[in-house]
C-alpha cells in the first residue's frame, strides 16, 4: 500500500464508532439479569447434554399428544364453534424437528495419555455447536436452538 492509503487507514482508525445507547444496554442487562447467566461453564455443559434430548423428547411428546387428541376428538376439531376449536388445536403447535447439524468450531490435541490398563492413547478435545430446528408446517414458523458442546475423544495408539 502506498503512503496515501496508509494515511487514510490511520484516519479511519481514529474515527470511533458511536457508543451504544443506554436503552440497548438496559435491554441486555434485563436479558442477562433474568437468566441463569452466572452459571459456570462446566455445569452448563452438563445441562446441555441433558437439555438437548429432553427438549427433543418434549417436542415429540407434544406432537403425539396433539395427534392423539385430534384423533379422539374429531367432532370438537371440526365443530362449527369456529374460533374455540382453532384455539384448542393451536395451543399444541405441532413443531417437528426438521434439521440438525453439528459444527466443529475447534479441536485441540492434548497429547498422549496412558489409560488404566497401560495402553497409550491420544486425547483430543473437540468443541461443537449443535443446532436443531423445529418447524410448524401449518404456519411455517420455526424455532432454532444452538448449543455449544464439548467432546473428549481418547483413541488408543498403536506403535508399529
Amino acid at each position: 500500500m502506498d503512503d496515501d492509503l496508509i494515511q487514510l487507514e490511520a484516519e479511519l482508525q481514529r474515527l470511533q464508532p458511536a457508543p451504544l445507547s443506554a436503552a440497548l444496554t438496559r435491554r441486555i442487562a434485563t436479558d442477562l439479569g433474568a437468566s441463569p447467566a452466572a452459571t459456570s461453564a462446566p455445569i452448563y455443559r452438563l445441562w446441555s447434554w441433558i437439555a438437548l434430548p429432553a427438549a427433543a423428547a418434549m417436542a415429540a411428546l407434544l406432537v403425539q399428544l396433539a395427534e392423539s387428541r385430534l384423533a379422539r376428538e374429531p367432532a370438537l376439531s371440526a365443530a362449527p364453534t369456529g374460533e374455540v376449536g382453532v384455539v384448542v388445536a393451536g395451543d399444541e403447535a405441532p413443531y417437528r424437528p426438521v434439521a440438525a447439524e453439528n459444527v466443529l468450531v475447534a479441536a485441540r490435541d492434548e497429547g498422549l495419555v496412558t489409560l488404566d490398563d497401560g495402553t497409550p492413547a491420544r486425547r483430543r478435545r473437540l468443541h461443537f455447536v449443535d443446532t436443531i430446528t423445529w418447524r410448524d408446517p401449518r404456519t411455517n414458523a420455526s424455532i432454532t436452538w444452538s448449543l455449544p458442546r464439548e467432546e473428549v475423544r481418547v483413541v488408543p495408539v498403536a506403535f508399529q
Binding site: L15, P17, L20, A23, L24, A106, V129
Partner: protein, 171 residues
C-alpha cells in the same frame, strides 16, 4: 459477589466491543434499531452460552451477529411478502463519534464509506473497526483471505478517490 463480578464483566466487555459490534451489525441490517436487536440477541447468546468457546471473542461475536442479522432479514422479507409491501428504506450505514479534526471531514468520510459497494464496505468495517485479521474476516464472510484483501484495497482506493473529489468541491 459473584453476581456483581459477573455484571461488571459483561458491562466492561460490552463497553469495549459493543460500539464496534453495532457498527458491524449495521452493515447487514436495514436500520439502527434492527442492528441493536441483532447485537442484543448475539451478545446475550454469547454471554450465556458461548464464552467457554476458544478463539477470539470478537471474531466469534461478528459471526454470531451476522447470522442473527440474516435471520432477521429473512423474517422481515417473509413478513413484507405476506403484507404485500416493499422492503424498508435503508438508514445511513455508518455512525461515528466526532473524533476527526473537523465535523465536515468526518461527515465526508462517513458519507464516502456509506456509498461504498456493500461487499467492500463490510470488509472495510470488519478490518478497521472490528479489528479482525483478513483470515478472521474470510472465515466470518465465508470467502478466501485473498478476496477479502482485494476488497479491502478496492475499498481504500475508492475512498481515496471519493474524498479527493469531495476536497476539490470545496469541503
Amino acid at each position: 459477589m459473584e453476581d456483581a463480578t459477573h455484571h461488571a464483566a459483561w458491562q466492561d466487555w460490552l463497553q469495549r466491543y459493543g460500539p464496534r459490534l453495532l457498527l458491524c451489525a449495521r452493515q447487514w441490517t436495514r436500520s439502527r434499531a434492527d442492528a441493536e436487536d441483532v447485537v442484543q440477541e448475539a451478545f446475550v447468546r454469547y454471554w450465556r452460552h458461548q464464552r467457554a468457546l476458544p478463539g477470539d471473542p470478537m471474531a466469534l461475536m461478528v459471526t454470531s451477529v451476522r447470522r442473527a442479522a440474516f435471520d432477521l432479514a429473512r423474517r422481515d422479507d417473509r413478513r413484507a411478502a405476506r403484507d404485500g409491501r416493499a422492503g424498508m428504506a435503508e438508514d445511513p450505514v455508518c455512525a461515528f463519534e466526532c473524533a476527526l479534526d473537523g465535523q465536515e471531514r468526518r461527515a465526508a468520510v462517513e458519507d464516502a464509506v456509506g456509498r461504498l459497494p456493500a461487499e467492500q464496505r463490510e470488509v472495510l468495517v470488519l478490518k478497521i473497526w472490528g479489528e479482525l485479521t483478513f483470515e478472521q474476516i474470510a472465515a466470518a464472510l465465508e470467502l478466501s483471505p485473498h478476496t477479502v484483501a482485494s476488497r479491502y484495497r478496492y475499498a481504500l482506493n475508492s475512498l481515496r478517490t471519493e474524498l479527493a473529489a469531495a476536497d476539490c468541491h470545496g469541503r
